[in-house]
């Protein structure tokens, strides 16, 4: 009775109801775009028509797939390494107040490092293969996740802390059963930010120096003024970032279905 859903529509109808405004926007934008280059004289080298981009993708799928795969692997590996390291560091800093006080200003500095500024140095250290891109992606993932997770570990309600005290909970029980669950919404918010940042990091690092990847593909296409290829590559990188975002969202829905932010989105 309390759980009665406000949306009583059948499932496909409900999905369609949620999706059609976005589809309409896509149709209008692509239509305008198509008209601009085919009827209104927009030069191809500035903005090629959507069908030309699609044609490029269909005719030369190999380089898109091969370079897309490289970027995907770099971003995923960097993301995973960054998250694991961040969670470990957050737990260490959380249990050691002195170290946390000493480190937190530098974490904020780290969060604000402009990626292009650090990428050349990382490439000098780790070479221009995939390793340097993984490191850059890991750096960009690490800082938001460590900062938000630390914040989340302190987010338990004052009254909940009292409750655990009255229930005579040990320190480790407090961590496992109160503070870690309370930190999960913060952790997922950070993952959302980091998932987009890791793809960005890999692509930008590839711009600087690389022999494969979406960034590399865009750069070489730009040298030959192959704008359809540039846009096809942009679409692939956006696809990778969206895939990341989707994975994080699904994980969030599975792991913290109780949280208001998840419920609001359903």
């Amino acid at each position: 009775m309390i759980m009665a859903s406000k949306n009583q529509r059948s499932k496909p109808a409900a999905v369609w109801h949620g999706v059609w405004p976005a589809l309409l926007v896509a149709v209008v934008v692509i239509g305008l775009w198509y008209s601009a280059s085919h009827f209104w004289g927009m030069p191809k080298y500035i903005l090629p028509a959507p069908d030309l981009i699609l044609k490029e993708a269909i005719e030369n799928p190999n380089s898109l797939l091969r370079n897309g795969w490289v970027t995907l692997v770099e971003a995923t590996t960097g993301f995973a390494v960054g998250v694991l390291l961040a969670v470990f560091v957050a737990l260490v800093l959380d249990s050691w107040r002195f170290l946390e006080k000493g480190m937190s200003p530098y974490l904020v500095v780290g969060l604000n490092i402009p990626i292009v500024a650090i990428a050349p140095a990382v490439i000098i250290w780790f070479g221009f293969g995939m390793m340097s891109k993984i490191v850059v992606a890991a750096i960009l993932t690490f800082f938001p996740v460590v900062i938000y997770t630390l914040k989340g570990l302190k987010a338990a309600d004052r009254r909940e802390v009292d409750l655990f005290s009255v229930l005579s909970a040990s320190r480790i029980q407090g961590l496992l059963k109160l503070r870690m669950p309370s930190s999960l919404p913060f952790f997922f918010a950070a993952l959302r930010v980091a998932s987009a940042a890791s793809v960005l990091a890999a692509v930008v690092a590839e711009f600087i120096q690389a022999n494969a990847g979406i960034g590399y593909l865009i750069l070489t296409a730009a040298y030959t003024n192959n704008t359809p290829r540039i846009w096809a590559a942009v679409a692939v990188s956006a696809g990778i970032a969206l895939l990341f975002y989707w994975v994080v969202t699904v994980a969030e829905r599975k792991i913290i279905p109780w949280h208001a932010s998840v419920d609001a989105r359903n």
């Binding site: 759980m3 229930l167 909970a169 059963k177 109780w258």
Partner: protein, 262 residues
Amino acid sequence: MTAAVVARELSVTFESGGGQFQALNAFNLTVEKNEFVSLIGPSGCGKTTVLRCIADLISPTGGSVMVNGIPPRDAIKKRDIGYVFQSATLLEWRNVLKNVMLPLELAGVPRAEALPRAEAMIERVGLTDFVKNYPRQLSGGMQQRVAIARSLVMNPDIILMDEPFAALDEITRDDMNRWLLEVFAQSSTTILFVTHNIREAIMLSDRVVVMAARPGRIVKEFKVSMPRPRTAEQTFTDEFSRIRQEAEEALYGAATRTKVGE
């Protein structure tokens, strides 16, 4: 027989913004085993502070508290004390069953034993149909019932209740009062109940203790000898009206005197 709670000359002073705030001054109270005692008073009179001292959430600046003849910290370790907060304070990531299981889990009770105990307690608070629900999906009254089930599940000797029904509407509050009377009748616990509702205090208690603020202290005590089980009809008895009137006088008299004294 040792009393459930003995507070002697209890004083608590808080530092606040350079000044000092005396939350409690020379507070004396004895609660016997299986007694239901209400503390009633205006906000700032230190009612909650008394409970927090008994539950070892704060240390008194002066005087002492004993729970079953031992210091609060040891009583908490022995899990002799249950606490119901003003808000239900349920963990939002646990469903009703898992919230009620929490104290058992923290005490290391094996799951095979904990599960039937938690389920029995949930049945007692009438929420069997809601075991799988998350707190967000429950009404305020139901949430508070889960919180009470959680405080009862360890079978504590003493339950401290801090205005548990203050956030509920009048009708739900009456319901909860009736229900709490039943629970109290079925168990052998001692309850120390904080409220600012006189009617609620008289209906539930064996003894009503009226407090005043600045500094927090006891101004008057009433024994309620109306027979149990208590019913709503008893609110029309002479005894009820007499205690209510005297308690109001003590309460508002104390409030006015405090103002004049300032």
